[in-house]
Symmetry: C2
Subunit: 195 residues, 2 copies
Protein backbone atom coordinates (compact mmCIF):
# COMPACT_ATOMS: atom_id res chain seq x y z
CA UNK A 1 0.00 0.00 0.00
CA UNK A 2 2.94 2.31 0.69
CA UNK A 3 4.27 1.61 -2.77
CA UNK A 4 0.86 2.21 -4.31
CA UNK A 5 0.76 5.59 -2.64
CA UNK A 6 4.22 6.40 -4.01
CA UNK A 7 3.16 5.55 -7.53
CA UNK A 8 0.09 7.74 -7.30
CA UNK A 9 2.09 10.63 -5.93
CA UNK A 10 4.49 10.20 -8.83
CA UNK A 11 1.64 10.24 -11.32
CA UNK A 12 0.26 13.43 -9.81
CA UNK A 13 3.69 15.00 -10.00
CA UNK A 14 3.74 14.30 -13.73
CA UNK A 15 0.95 16.80 -14.22
CA UNK A 16 2.14 19.45 -11.83
CA UNK A 17 5.85 20.11 -12.18
CA UNK A 18 9.15 19.01 -13.60
CA UNK A 19 8.98 15.25 -13.43
CA UNK A 20 11.72 13.56 -11.48
CA UNK A 21 10.66 9.96 -11.01
CA UNK A 22 11.44 8.47 -7.63
CA UNK A 23 14.53 6.32 -7.32
CA UNK A 24 13.95 2.66 -8.09
CA UNK A 25 12.65 0.61 -5.21
CA UNK A 26 15.23 -2.03 -4.49
CA UNK A 27 14.10 -4.16 -1.55
CA UNK A 28 12.12 -7.28 -2.38
CA UNK A 29 8.61 -7.35 -0.92
CA UNK A 30 7.32 -10.76 -1.98
CA UNK A 31 3.61 -11.64 -2.13
CA UNK A 32 2.68 -8.15 -3.24
CA UNK A 33 1.71 -8.96 -6.78
CA UNK A 34 0.78 -5.44 -7.91
CA UNK A 35 3.51 -3.20 -6.65
CA UNK A 36 6.12 -5.34 -4.94
CA UNK A 37 8.95 -7.52 -6.14
CA UNK A 38 9.09 -11.29 -6.28
CA UNK A 39 12.21 -13.31 -5.53
CA UNK A 40 14.81 -12.76 -8.27
CA UNK A 41 13.08 -9.84 -9.96
CA UNK A 42 15.34 -7.00 -11.05
CA UNK A 43 14.65 -3.27 -11.28
CA UNK A 44 16.66 -0.39 -12.76
CA UNK A 45 16.76 3.29 -11.89
CA UNK A 46 14.20 5.17 -13.98
CA UNK A 47 15.35 8.04 -16.21
CA UNK A 48 15.52 11.50 -14.63
CA UNK A 49 12.81 13.01 -16.81
CA UNK A 50 9.92 12.10 -19.06
CA UNK A 51 10.09 12.68 -22.81
CA UNK A 52 6.45 13.01 -23.94
CA UNK A 53 2.96 13.12 -22.48
CA UNK A 54 -0.41 11.49 -22.97
CA UNK A 55 -4.06 12.45 -22.81
CA UNK A 56 -6.59 10.02 -21.43
CA UNK A 57 -9.25 10.11 -24.16
CA UNK A 58 -11.84 7.97 -22.37
CA UNK A 59 -12.36 4.98 -20.09
CA UNK A 60 -12.86 1.26 -20.65
CA UNK A 61 -15.74 -0.23 -18.69
CA UNK A 62 -15.41 -3.94 -17.93
CA UNK A 63 -16.97 -6.33 -15.40
CA UNK A 64 -13.64 -6.69 -13.51
CA UNK A 65 -12.90 -4.54 -10.47
CA UNK A 66 -9.94 -6.51 -9.06
CA UNK A 67 -6.93 -7.85 -10.90
CA UNK A 68 -7.60 -11.41 -9.71
CA UNK A 69 -11.02 -11.32 -11.39
CA UNK A 70 -9.65 -10.39 -14.84
CA UNK A 71 -9.43 -13.17 -17.45
CA UNK A 72 -5.85 -14.41 -17.91
CA UNK A 73 -6.00 -13.22 -21.49
CA UNK A 74 -8.54 -11.58 -23.72
CA UNK A 75 -9.50 -14.68 -25.69
CA UNK A 76 -10.64 -16.37 -22.47
CA UNK A 77 -13.66 -14.14 -22.14
CA UNK A 78 -16.76 -13.35 -24.18
CA UNK A 79 -17.70 -10.50 -21.87
CA UNK A 80 -19.16 -7.47 -23.60
CA UNK A 81 -17.23 -4.34 -22.60
CA UNK A 82 -17.79 -0.67 -23.33
CA UNK A 83 -15.24 1.87 -24.48
CA UNK A 84 -16.47 5.30 -23.37
CA UNK A 85 -14.81 7.95 -25.48
CA UNK A 86 -14.63 11.52 -24.16
CA UNK A 87 -17.28 13.47 -26.19
CA UNK A 88 -14.50 15.87 -27.23
CA UNK A 89 -13.24 13.20 -29.66
CA UNK A 90 -16.58 11.77 -30.83
CA UNK A 91 -16.25 13.04 -34.42
CA UNK A 92 -13.05 11.02 -34.76
CA UNK A 93 -15.18 7.83 -34.82
CA UNK A 94 -16.57 8.72 -38.27
CA UNK A 95 -16.20 5.70 -40.56
CA UNK A 96 -15.13 3.30 -37.80
CA UNK A 97 -18.49 1.48 -37.93
CA UNK A 98 -17.31 -0.36 -41.06
CA UNK A 99 -14.50 -2.21 -39.26
CA UNK A 100 -14.85 -5.65 -37.66
CA UNK A 101 -11.97 -5.32 -35.17
CA UNK A 102 -10.22 -2.47 -33.42
CA UNK A 103 -6.80 -2.12 -31.81
CA UNK A 104 -7.25 -0.49 -28.41
CA UNK A 105 -4.36 1.14 -26.57
CA UNK A 106 -4.82 1.75 -22.88
CA UNK A 107 -2.78 2.82 -19.90
CA UNK A 108 -2.11 0.36 -17.10
CA UNK A 109 -1.86 3.07 -14.50
CA UNK A 110 -1.25 0.77 -11.54
CA UNK A 111 1.84 -0.95 -12.93
CA UNK A 112 5.39 -0.28 -11.79
CA UNK A 113 7.74 0.88 -14.54
CA UNK A 114 11.22 -0.10 -13.36
CA UNK A 115 11.17 -3.92 -13.69
CA UNK A 116 13.54 -5.48 -16.24
CA UNK A 117 13.43 -9.14 -15.11
CA UNK A 118 10.10 -10.52 -13.96
CA UNK A 119 8.79 -13.74 -12.39
CA UNK A 120 5.11 -13.84 -13.31
CA UNK A 121 2.97 -15.92 -10.97
CA UNK A 122 1.97 -18.53 -13.57
CA UNK A 123 5.44 -19.10 -15.09
CA UNK A 124 8.31 -20.94 -13.46
CA UNK A 125 11.08 -19.02 -15.20
CA UNK A 126 12.20 -15.43 -14.88
CA UNK A 127 12.02 -13.45 -18.12
CA UNK A 128 12.76 -10.00 -19.47
CA UNK A 129 10.00 -7.39 -19.48
CA UNK A 130 10.07 -7.13 -23.29
CA UNK A 131 9.57 -10.91 -23.65
CA UNK A 132 6.34 -10.63 -21.62
CA UNK A 133 2.96 -8.91 -21.97
CA UNK A 134 2.99 -8.03 -18.27
CA UNK A 135 1.56 -4.59 -17.35
CA UNK A 136 4.84 -3.74 -15.60
CA UNK A 137 7.06 -2.06 -18.24
CA UNK A 138 8.76 1.32 -18.77
CA UNK A 139 5.70 2.63 -20.61
CA UNK A 140 2.70 0.64 -19.39
CA UNK A 141 0.72 0.83 -22.63
CA UNK A 142 -1.41 -2.23 -23.42
CA UNK A 143 -2.32 -3.25 -26.97
CA UNK A 144 -5.52 -5.31 -27.31
CA UNK A 145 -7.44 -6.46 -30.36
CA UNK A 146 -11.19 -6.42 -29.79
CA UNK A 147 -14.19 -7.31 -31.93
CA UNK A 148 -16.35 -4.27 -32.55
CA UNK A 149 -20.00 -5.18 -31.97
CA UNK A 150 -21.45 -1.71 -32.58
CA UNK A 151 -21.01 2.01 -31.93
CA UNK A 152 -23.58 3.99 -29.93
CA UNK A 153 -22.82 7.72 -30.02
CA UNK A 154 -19.42 8.03 -28.29
CA UNK A 155 -19.43 4.45 -26.96
CA UNK A 156 -17.94 1.35 -28.58
CA UNK A 157 -19.46 -2.00 -27.61
CA UNK A 158 -16.67 -4.59 -27.93
CA UNK A 159 -15.75 -8.19 -27.09
CA UNK A 160 -12.25 -9.44 -26.28
CA UNK A 161 -10.83 -7.33 -23.46
CA UNK A 162 -9.31 -8.44 -20.17
CA UNK A 163 -8.52 -5.18 -18.38
CA UNK A 164 -9.76 -3.66 -15.13
CA UNK A 165 -12.89 -1.55 -15.06
CA UNK A 166 -12.25 2.18 -15.58
CA UNK A 167 -8.90 1.70 -17.35
CA UNK A 168 -7.78 4.92 -19.10
CA UNK A 169 -8.08 4.78 -22.90
CA UNK A 170 -5.26 6.12 -25.12
CA UNK A 171 -6.16 5.27 -28.71
CA UNK A 172 -8.52 3.43 -31.05
CA UNK A 173 -7.24 2.15 -34.42
CA UNK A 174 -8.77 0.03 -37.19
CA UNK A 175 -7.24 -3.49 -37.28
CA UNK A 176 -5.83 -4.28 -40.73
CA UNK A 177 -5.33 -8.03 -41.27
CA UNK A 178 -2.87 -7.20 -44.06
CA UNK A 179 -0.34 -5.68 -41.65
CA UNK A 180 -1.49 -6.67 -38.14
CA UNK A 181 -2.20 -10.38 -38.55
CA UNK A 182 0.62 -12.94 -38.48
CA UNK A 183 -1.14 -16.28 -37.87
CA UNK A 184 2.07 -18.34 -37.82
CA UNK A 185 4.02 -16.12 -35.40
CA UNK A 186 5.77 -18.07 -32.64
CA UNK A 187 6.71 -17.30 -29.06
CA UNK A 188 9.27 -20.03 -28.46
CA UNK A 189 9.45 -19.86 -24.69
CA UNK A 190 5.68 -20.00 -24.43
CA UNK A 191 5.33 -22.93 -26.85
CA UNK A 192 7.90 -24.93 -24.84
CA UNK A 193 5.99 -24.22 -21.67
CA UNK A 194 2.75 -25.47 -23.27
CA UNK A 195 4.29 -28.77 -24.49
Amino acid sequence: MALAARLNACQLAEMAEITKPKAAISGPTPHDDWYGLREGEVVVALPDAFDASLYYIGRIRTPWRRREDCPKNARESDAVCTVELDPRWAQALTGLDSVSHVVLLYWMDKARRDLVLQSPRHYAERRGTFALRSPARPNPIAVSVARLVRIEDNRLIVVGLDCLDNTPLLDIKPYFASTDSVPDAQVGWHAEKAR
Copy 2:
Protein backbone atom coordinates in the same frame (compact mmCIF):
# COMPACT_ATOMS: atom_id res chain seq x y z
CA MET B 1 7.12 25.98 -40.63
CA ALA B 2 5.48 28.26 -38.06
CA LEU B 3 3.25 25.38 -37.02
CA ALA B 4 6.18 23.02 -36.77
CA ALA B 5 7.88 25.46 -34.43
CA ARG B 6 4.75 25.67 -32.31
CA LEU B 7 4.60 21.89 -31.96
CA ASN B 8 8.22 21.71 -30.95
CA ALA B 9 7.77 24.46 -28.39
CA CYS B 10 4.81 22.54 -27.01
CA GLN B 11 6.84 19.36 -26.73
CA LEU B 12 9.58 21.16 -24.87
CA ALA B 13 6.99 22.64 -22.53
CA GLU B 14 5.88 19.11 -21.65
CA MET B 15 9.19 18.45 -20.01
CA ALA B 16 9.66 21.80 -18.31
CA GLU B 17 6.49 23.03 -16.65
CA ILE B 18 2.78 22.65 -16.19
CA THR B 19 1.59 21.56 -19.60
CA LYS B 20 -1.04 23.76 -21.15
CA PRO B 21 -1.33 22.71 -24.76
CA LYS B 22 -1.75 25.57 -27.20
CA ALA B 23 -5.24 26.33 -28.47
CA ALA B 24 -6.24 24.37 -31.57
CA ILE B 25 -5.08 25.83 -34.85
CA SER B 26 -8.18 26.61 -36.87
CA GLY B 27 -7.20 28.18 -40.18
CA PRO B 28 -6.73 25.81 -43.12
CA THR B 29 -3.23 25.81 -44.60
CA PRO B 30 -3.53 23.40 -47.50
CA HIS B 31 -0.54 21.67 -49.09
CA ASP B 32 1.26 21.42 -45.76
CA ASP B 33 0.98 17.68 -45.32
CA TRP B 34 2.79 17.40 -41.99
CA TYR B 35 1.45 20.14 -39.81
CA GLY B 36 -1.23 21.97 -41.73
CA LEU B 37 -4.87 21.28 -42.49
CA ARG B 38 -6.38 20.12 -45.73
CA GLU B 39 -9.73 21.30 -47.02
CA GLY B 40 -12.54 19.93 -44.84
CA GLU B 41 -10.33 18.68 -42.02
CA VAL B 42 -11.61 19.37 -38.50
CA VAL B 43 -9.68 20.01 -35.29
CA VAL B 44 -10.81 20.24 -31.66
CA ALA B 45 -9.35 22.13 -28.72
CA LEU B 46 -6.90 19.89 -26.87
CA PRO B 47 -7.46 19.17 -23.15
CA ASP B 48 -5.96 21.65 -20.68
CA ALA B 49 -3.50 19.17 -19.16
CA PHE B 50 -1.79 15.87 -19.80
CA ASP B 51 -2.67 12.78 -17.75
CA ALA B 52 0.45 10.56 -17.94
CA SER B 53 3.99 10.63 -19.29
CA LEU B 54 6.32 8.50 -21.36
CA TYR B 55 9.99 7.60 -21.47
CA TYR B 56 11.72 7.20 -24.81
CA ILE B 57 13.48 3.85 -24.31
CA GLY B 58 15.48 3.87 -27.54
CA ARG B 59 15.42 4.84 -31.21
CA ILE B 60 14.39 3.08 -34.41
CA ARG B 61 16.94 3.35 -37.22
CA THR B 62 15.48 3.05 -40.73
CA PRO B 63 16.63 4.04 -44.23
CA TRP B 64 13.99 6.82 -44.45
CA ARG B 65 14.83 10.39 -43.56
CA ARG B 66 11.82 12.14 -45.09
CA ARG B 67 8.16 11.22 -44.81
CA GLU B 68 7.77 11.01 -48.59
CA ASP B 69 10.46 8.30 -48.71
CA CYS B 70 8.72 5.99 -46.20
CA PRO B 71 6.87 2.96 -47.57
CA LYS B 72 3.09 3.49 -47.60
CA ASN B 73 2.76 0.60 -45.19
CA ALA B 74 5.07 -1.83 -43.50
CA ARG B 75 4.35 -4.83 -45.73
CA GLU B 76 5.54 -2.85 -48.75
CA SER B 77 9.17 -3.01 -47.64
CA ASP B 78 11.74 -5.71 -46.93
CA ALA B 79 14.20 -3.17 -45.55
CA VAL B 80 16.18 -4.35 -42.55
CA CYS B 81 15.82 -1.86 -39.69
CA THR B 82 17.47 -1.64 -36.29
CA VAL B 83 15.81 -1.00 -32.96
CA GLU B 84 18.43 0.54 -30.67
CA LEU B 85 17.36 0.04 -27.07
CA ASP B 86 18.83 2.32 -24.38
CA PRO B 87 21.39 0.12 -22.52
CA ARG B 88 19.51 0.90 -19.28
CA TRP B 89 16.79 -1.56 -20.39
CA ALA B 90 19.00 -4.22 -22.03
CA GLN B 91 18.28 -6.92 -19.40
CA ALA B 92 14.59 -6.64 -20.26
CA LEU B 93 15.34 -8.40 -23.60
CA THR B 94 16.05 -11.70 -21.80
CA GLY B 95 14.06 -14.47 -23.50
CA LEU B 96 12.93 -12.35 -26.43
CA ASP B 97 15.25 -14.21 -28.83
CA SER B 98 12.75 -17.09 -28.93
CA VAL B 99 10.01 -15.01 -30.60
CA SER B 100 9.48 -14.72 -34.35
CA HIS B 101 7.63 -11.38 -34.33
CA VAL B 102 7.51 -8.37 -32.06
CA VAL B 103 4.98 -5.60 -31.52
CA LEU B 104 6.80 -2.27 -31.52
CA LEU B 105 5.26 0.87 -30.09
CA TYR B 106 6.81 4.16 -31.12
CA TRP B 107 6.08 7.86 -30.83
CA MET B 108 5.28 9.84 -33.95
CA ASP B 109 6.67 13.02 -32.52
CA LYS B 110 6.00 15.20 -35.54
CA ALA B 111 2.27 14.58 -35.77
CA ARG B 112 -0.39 17.08 -34.73
CA ARG B 113 -2.78 15.83 -32.05
CA ASP B 114 -5.95 17.85 -32.51
CA LEU B 115 -7.37 16.43 -35.77
CA VAL B 116 -10.69 14.55 -35.56
CA LEU B 117 -11.64 14.45 -39.27
CA GLN B 118 -8.86 13.86 -41.79
CA SER B 119 -8.48 13.84 -45.57
CA PRO B 120 -5.44 11.65 -46.22
CA ARG B 121 -3.70 12.36 -49.51
CA HIS B 122 -4.37 8.94 -51.02
CA TYR B 123 -8.09 8.67 -50.07
CA ALA B 124 -10.93 10.63 -51.65
CA GLU B 125 -13.14 10.65 -48.57
CA ARG B 126 -12.76 12.38 -45.23
CA ARG B 127 -12.68 10.01 -42.25
CA GLY B 128 -12.42 10.09 -38.49
CA THR B 129 -9.00 9.86 -36.88
CA PHE B 130 -9.90 6.58 -35.13
CA ALA B 131 -10.91 4.97 -38.45
CA LEU B 132 -7.41 5.69 -39.82
CA ARG B 133 -3.84 4.66 -39.00
CA SER B 134 -2.61 8.21 -39.66
CA PRO B 135 0.14 9.51 -37.33
CA ALA B 136 -2.08 12.50 -36.44
CA ARG B 137 -4.10 11.45 -33.37
CA PRO B 138 -4.56 12.57 -29.75
CA ASN B 139 -1.78 10.21 -28.62
CA PRO B 140 0.51 9.63 -31.61
CA ILE B 141 1.55 6.10 -30.67
CA ALA B 142 2.16 3.74 -33.59
CA VAL B 143 1.74 -0.03 -33.33
CA SER B 144 3.78 -2.10 -35.80
CA VAL B 145 4.33 -5.82 -36.10
CA ALA B 146 7.87 -6.65 -37.21
CA ARG B 147 9.70 -9.89 -37.91
CA LEU B 148 12.60 -10.34 -35.50
CA VAL B 149 15.70 -11.40 -37.44
CA ARG B 150 18.09 -11.47 -34.49
CA ILE B 151 19.20 -9.65 -31.33
CA GLU B 152 22.74 -8.22 -31.01
CA ASP B 153 23.36 -6.94 -27.49
CA ASN B 154 20.86 -4.10 -27.04
CA ARG B 155 19.90 -3.96 -30.74
CA LEU B 156 17.04 -5.76 -32.48
CA ILE B 157 17.43 -6.42 -36.19
CA VAL B 158 13.91 -6.44 -37.68
CA VAL B 159 11.99 -6.41 -40.98
CA GLY B 160 8.60 -4.80 -41.53
CA LEU B 161 8.77 -1.17 -40.42
CA ASP B 162 7.80 1.96 -42.30
CA CYS B 163 8.72 4.79 -39.92
CA LEU B 164 11.18 7.66 -40.16
CA ASP B 165 14.79 7.20 -39.09
CA ASN B 166 15.42 8.06 -35.44
CA THR B 167 11.81 7.56 -34.34
CA PRO B 168 11.53 7.35 -30.52
CA LEU B 169 10.81 3.83 -29.23
CA LEU B 170 8.21 3.29 -26.47
CA ASP B 171 7.82 -0.47 -26.04
CA ILE B 172 8.69 -3.94 -27.33
CA LYS B 173 6.26 -6.83 -26.83
CA PRO B 174 6.18 -10.46 -28.02
CA TYR B 175 3.52 -11.01 -30.71
CA PHE B 176 1.10 -13.78 -29.71
CA ALA B 177 -0.83 -15.17 -32.69
CA SER B 178 -3.43 -16.52 -30.24
CA THR B 179 -4.57 -13.04 -29.22
CA ASP B 180 -3.02 -10.62 -31.75
CA SER B 181 -3.82 -12.34 -35.06
CA VAL B 182 -7.27 -11.99 -36.67
CA PRO B 183 -6.73 -13.05 -40.29
CA ASP B 184 -10.36 -12.45 -41.34
CA ALA B 185 -10.71 -8.96 -39.85
CA GLN B 186 -12.31 -6.45 -42.22
CA VAL B 187 -11.99 -2.71 -42.69
CA GLY B 188 -15.14 -2.04 -44.70
CA TRP B 189 -14.29 1.42 -45.99
CA HIS B 190 -10.89 0.23 -47.17
CA ALA B 191 -12.24 -2.89 -48.91
CA GLU B 192 -14.78 -0.74 -50.80
CA LYS B 193 -12.03 1.59 -51.91
CA ALA B 194 -9.98 -1.37 -53.21
CA ARG B 195 -12.86 -2.82 -55.22
